[in-house]
């Protein structure tokens, strides 16, 4: 059975701290791994990773994929209260099976 596991389930840090969120997966026919941020309603897209070892960066957020060890991390540096959200990791499988398999998410709370 395809599986995506995120850790920790929740995390509370102070503003300015750096956090690392983890995502491991076991799926057949892996194609890409995606990170989303969910505040109140719609998950919003952050990154899509298809190749191992290539860091993707957007401002204070960055992510990298390890296809040998089957995991990804999402780093957030200099956290701000606006980073408080649930961060979702999802895995897409090869063309013909376009669904995303999601983990249950990491709830990140930033204390001012």
């Amino acid at each position: 059975e395809d599986k995506v596991v995120q850790s920790p389930l929740s995390l509370v840090v102070h503003e300015g701290d750096t956090v690392t969120l983890n995502c491991s997966y076991e799926v057949t026919n892996f194609r890409s791994l995606l990170w989303y941020k969910q505040e109140k309603k719609a998950p919003t897209f952050l990154f899509m990773l298809t190749s191992s070892g290539i860091e993707k960066k957007s401002g204070r957020l960055s992510s990298i994929l390890d296809k040998k060890e089957l995991f990804s991390i999402l780093n957030i540096t200099a956290t701000q209260t606006g980073d408080s959200a649930v961060y979702l990791c999802a895995v897409a499988q090869v063309f013909g099976n376009e669904k995303l398999t999601f983990g249950t998410g990491t709830r990140l709370t930033i204390i001012p």
């Binding site: 719609a42 999802a90 897409a92 995303l100 999601f102 249950t104």
Partner: protein, 116 residues
């Protein structure tokens, strides 16, 4: 439209009634997806459309659930004879297909369905 639009945003209904949820994808997105998010759970895949056809219906939990898409655009998810366990947020997403591969999915705000 600018983003994925879902309606209604909230729906409260009595057990046993039928409900219809609507999704209007981003203009030009040929792929459309339905997911369900129950309290404390991750998003659960329901069904995927490419154009008007549904190559993958594997996530529909029972034959009370059905979905259709017309004109390669708007989709409706129908739940017949609703049960309390159907209470959840139903999320729709759409994406482009580029050279045979799905680009990142973009989500609507969802419909929060509550069955009394």
């Amino acid at each position: 439209g600018a983003g994925v639009s879902q309606s209604p945003s909230n729906k409260v209904t009595e057990k046993g009634k039928d409900v219809e949820l609507r999704c209007d994808p981003i203009s030009g997105h040929t792929a459309l997806y339905w997911y369900r998010q129950s309290l404390g759970q991750g998003l659960e895949f329901l069904i995927y459309f490419q154009g008007n056809s549904a190559p993958d219906k594997s996530g529909l939990p029972s034959d009370r659930f059905s979905a259709e898409r017309t004109g390669g655009s708007v989709s409706t998810l129908t739940i017949q004879r609703t049960q309390q366990e159907d209470s959840a947020v139903y999320l729709c997403a759409s994406s482009l297909i580029d050279r045979g591969f799905s680009q990142p999915q973009h989500f609507g705000d969802g419909t929060r369905l509550s069955i009394l």
